[in-house]
Structures are given as structure tokens and as C-alpha cells.
């Protein structure tokens, strides 16, 4: 008959060993097969709802980088969520566009040091502040749109198409429409 001896030493407190944390694997965000660089997308929600824009690239966060082009429909270089977008089968040639330097950090909120804390926070909602567009953004927009506008001009009626809004009218059946 074996008897297990109690160990000579045991700690005063019962400290459980740390469990191995379950590391959640972060996969790169999935992009719909219908969305490829150059695809014309229809934005369904947000400030630019109904506008048709050109898709440039997918960012690491999973958001889509799009550009109007700005001259055609007023949509700047912007991020858009895949879920609020219809991908059409029309594509624009964006091989000449360089957006390698644009990522999620580019769109990050800049810390505004002039904002005073405390009482001013309560008065924020009174007057809408005009958006200050940085020169960097204007430069990038110009460079990207230069190439884009040429590609758009190469296809007949595409400029008018991108300038027009997407709307549903009577007799339109979205579940039967092919985009």
C-alpha cells in the first residue's frame, strides 16, 4: 500500500499557475471577389451615399480606399466600408495610380493641440467647424486624380456615369438588377 507523502514545503498562498492565453489569430480582412482595383463602387451610406466612385486599394483595416475622382463627383481620397458598397462590373484602368504611401495611419485623427479642455468641450456643438484639408491631402488627391481622369476620359460616357447618382425608381427590382 503506497502512501503519498505530503511535501515538506508548500506555499502559504494558493497561487494558480497562469493559464496559457488563447491567442486569437487575426486574419487579413476578406475582400469580396467582385471588388478589384479599378472597380466602380456605389456607396450606399454616409455622406456620399448614391455616388459612384473608383476603388483604389484595400487597406489593412479592411476598409476600401476610394477616390471620386474629386473633380467629377466631389468624393476625395477616402476610406469606405465594404459592407456599405455595391460593386459594379465596370472597371477603370488604375494601373498608373500610385497609392502605396496611403494607409490607415494616413487617415488617422490628428491631435489638435489648440483644443482647450474643460468648458470649451460643452460649446463644441454650437457652430459647425469648417473642415481643414491639409495640403498633403490636396497634393495626393491631385496626383491620383491626374491619372484617374485620363483613364476615365478614355471610356465614352464614363465621366457622366461617375458624376451621376445611383437611385432606385419605380419598377426597379434591386434583387433582379445586375450590377
Amino acid at each position: 500500500m503506497t502512501v503519498s507523502k505530503t511535501p515538506r514545503y508548500y506555499p502559504a498562498e494558493d497561487i494558480k499557475p497562469a493559464k496559457k492565453t488563447h491567442l486569437v489569430k487575426q486574419n487579413p480582412p476578406r475582400l469580396r471577389k467582385s471588388i478589384t482595383p479599378g472597380t466602380v463602387l456605389i456607396i450606399l451610406a454616409g455622406r456620399f451615399r448614391g455616388k459612384r466612385v473608383v476603388f483604389l486599394k484595400a487597406l489593412e483595416s479592411g476598409l476600401l480606399l476610394v477616390s471620386g475622382p474629386f473633380k467629377i463627383n466631389g468624393v476625395p481620397l477616402r476610406r469606405v466600408n465594404q459592407a456599405y458598397v455595391i460593386a459594379t462590373s465596370t472597371t477603370v484602368d488604375v494601373s498608373g495610380v500610385n497609392v502605396k504611401h496611403i494607409d490607415d495611419v494616413y487617415f488617422g485623427r490628428s491631435k489638435d493641440p489648440s483644443k482647450a479642455e474643460g468648458e470649451d468641450v460643452f460649446f463644441e456643438g454650437d457652430a459647425p467647424k469648417a473642415a481643414i484639408v491639409s495640403d498633403e491631402r490636396k497634393e495626393d488627391q491631385k496626383k491620383v486624380d491626374e491619372v484617374l481622369l485620363k483613364a476615365v476620359a478614355a471610356v465614352p460616357m464614363l465621366e457622366g456615369y461617375l458624376a451621376a447618382h445611383f437611385t432606385l425608381t419605380s419598377n426597379d427590382k434591386p434583387h433582379l438588377m445586375k450590377f
Binding site: T90, M157, Y161
Partner: protein, 130 residues
């Protein structure tokens, strides 16, 4: 008012229902009051089968064949009668084609149609005003 299109051997029919919907076939034999045997020349993608009258629409076209003609004979009969060309030239076929074209338009296509309709309306309006 007498009937002009009869269910007979050699009648060209348009299949309206089922996996072969939209295809042209030829009636080879009549089974009974409700069913017939159909077939088509090799290129059409139809297997020889019994089909109900309700699934099929009679066209104006016929071909001269004997009962239970083989596919090869059918092919020759179609070529002699010029069936496929006659069908494509018919307004029925043209209507079906335009309907499917409209249904398969993508968003850009629909935009172009909208612009074209506006231009046409403008031309008509200026002519009327003059």
C-alpha cells in the same frame, strides 16, 4: 376562328419551363393527349425527351420529317428549311432577345440607356415644337 398551329410531327416548339427553358426543339412524336417526344439537332443542347404540352409553346415553323426522325435527319431538315435563321428573324425571337439583353444590363449599361432615352425624347420634342 380555326387554329393555325397544330401539335404535329415536325412542329418547332419553344420550351417555356424546366432546365431547357428558352430553347427551340422539334416534335418528333406524340405520346398521348398531354405529352410529346421532342429532340433537336446536335448543337442545340437538348436531349431527346418526353415533355408535357404545358411546358412548351408552338411556333409558326415546321420541318418536314418522319415520325421518330434521328438527330442527323433533323439537322438536315433544319438546314433545308432554314429553321434557325427564320426563328432569329421572327419578332418573337427578337423580343425575347431584347428582354434578356435588358435584364442582363449592368449599372453602366442602364445609365447609357437612360441617356439615350433622354436624347431620343429631346429629338422628338424639338421636332414636335417645330
Amino acid at each position: 376562328m380555326p387554329f393555325s398551329r397544330y401539335m404535329e410531327v415536325g412542329r418547332i416548339v419553344l420550351i417555356n419551363f424546366g432546365p431547357d427553358k428558352g430553347k427551340l426543339a422539334c416534335v418528333i412524336d406524340i405520346v398521348d393527349q398531354n405529352k410529346c417526344l421532342i429532340d433537336a439537332p446536335p448543337g442545340q443542347g437538348i436531349v431527346r425527351q418526353v415533355i408535357s404540352f404545358g411546358r412548351v409553346a408552338l411556333t409558326d415553323l415546321t420541318v418536314k420529317i418522319q415520325r421518330n426522325a434521328r438527330q442527323k435527319t433533323l439537322e438536315k431538315a433544319y438546314a433545308d428549311a432554314g429553321t434557325l435563321e427564320k426563328w432569329e428573324a421572327s419578332s418573337w425571337a427578337k423580343k425575347l432577345a431584347s428582354r434578356s439583353k435588358r435584364a442582363n444590363l449592368n449599372d453602366f449599361g442602364r445609365f447609357k440607356v437612360m441617356v439615350a432615352k433622354k436624347q431620343k425624347a429631346q429629338i422628338i420634342a424639338t421636332k414636335l415644337a417645330a
